[in-house]
């Protein structure tokens, strides 16, 4: 049943597959995110309460959403790496974690900058903000562990265990606004209800969310390719990819 999947466990195949997808995903990310941000900044109407400050939402909400889903994908990769000993799942940790960390940082920073004019403070140690900060530390911890050992496999193992344990933080972030009294408002977008938001603001937001998804994919693909090469450096196929031809000095 799963036999068709087997060739995809080969690093070389994955490297070339990601290479084929990368330009399309990158182009899609640039176009859709660019379009969404221009739409949100220039064409969406101002909020009747928050004026133009709410335009921060077009980066804050997508980056916060994906900071969490990227973490879940990190934990899933760690789980696959531990249970099925799939080495490429281990390598994916190194590709995913930096992207997630930067998304988390952006969510925190834009939230602080939005909080100052709306709440009157840059930072408050409330449940949502604190748990999101812990998410940033988890990402940094996973990366630090991954590179902390001279033996790559040990590092990936340690990083993977932290990634799996840390996934407990995701429901805490998600439900922090319901379980505790926080400064942060509840979720604006939910899967099953129509969001209480005018279409003129909702559509550019959804466009930005799609753009951020493609951006995350492009960044992770590019890093995954580098990590595959780094791990497989002594294999003959890498020679074909990186080889400089002696006559022209150009890379194939």
């Amino acid at each position: 049943m799963w036999r068709w999947l087997h060739p995809y466990a080969k690093p070389e195949t994955v490297y070339h597959l990601l290479g084929r997808w990368l330009p399309w995903v990158t182009a899609g990310a640039v176009l859709i995110l660019g379009g969404g941000l221009v739409w949100g900044l220039l064409f969406a109407p101002a909020d009747y309460q928050q004026g133009d400050s709410y335009r921060i939402i077009f980066i804050h909400v997508p980056s916060a959403m994906f900071s969490m889903s990227i973490y879940v994908s990190l934990a899933v990769a760690a789980f696959i790496g531990r249970v099925w000993q799939l080495k490429m799942a281990d390598w994916a940790l190194a590709a995913i974690a930096p992207v997630g960390a930067v998304f988390t940082f952006i969510a925190l920073f834009t939230g602080a900058v939005w909080g100052k004019p709306m709440w009157g403070t840059w930072w408050e140690w409330d449940a949502r903000l604190t748990s999101q900060l812990i998410l940033l530390f988890l990402y940094i911890g996973v990366l630090a562990l991954y590179y902390a050992f001279s033996d790559n496999r040990t590092g990936a193992k340690a990083a993977g265990i932290l990634a799996m344990v840390g996934v407990i933080n995701i429901p805490i972030i998600r439900y922090s606004v319901e379980w505790w009294n926080t400064l942060h408002q509840g979720a604006t977008l939910t899967v099953f209800e129509r969001p209480p938001m005018a279409n003129s603001m909702l559509f550019p937001l959804l466009t930005c969310i799609l753009g951020f998804a493609l951006l995350a994919a492009a960044l992770i693909f590019q890093r995954m390719r580098t990590e595959i090469l780094r791990q497989e450096l002594r294999r003959p196929w890498v020679k074909n990819v990186l080889q400089v031809s002696p006559t022209t000095g150009e890379q194939r």
């Binding site: 900044l41 220039l42 101002a46 004026g51 133009d52 980066i59 004019p117 580098t226 090469l229």
Partner: protein, 66 residues
């Protein structure tokens, strides 16, 4: 178009500082992430090529000796 002039767009109804600070730092962080990723790749390529050339030199020298 929500803004009547370029000036109004920059001012963002009085929230210009906050909006542009948020967008600016986000773009900067994303940009650094992209640059770091690309540099890691080119560094890997450079080191690989140098190692190859070193081994070729070594092989040539051994041939000369023998």
């Amino acid at each position: 178009m929500q803004f009547e002039s370029w000036q109004a767009f920059i001012e963002m109804g009085g929230y210009g500082f906050y909006v542009w600070l948020a967008f600016g730092v986000s773009f900067l962080a994303m940009g650094l992430l992209v640059v770091q990723g690309l540099r890691a790749r080119s560094k890997l390529e450079r080191e690989f090529v140098q190692e190859q050339q070193r081994q070729q030199r070594l092989a040539r020298r051994q041939q000369e000796v023998s």
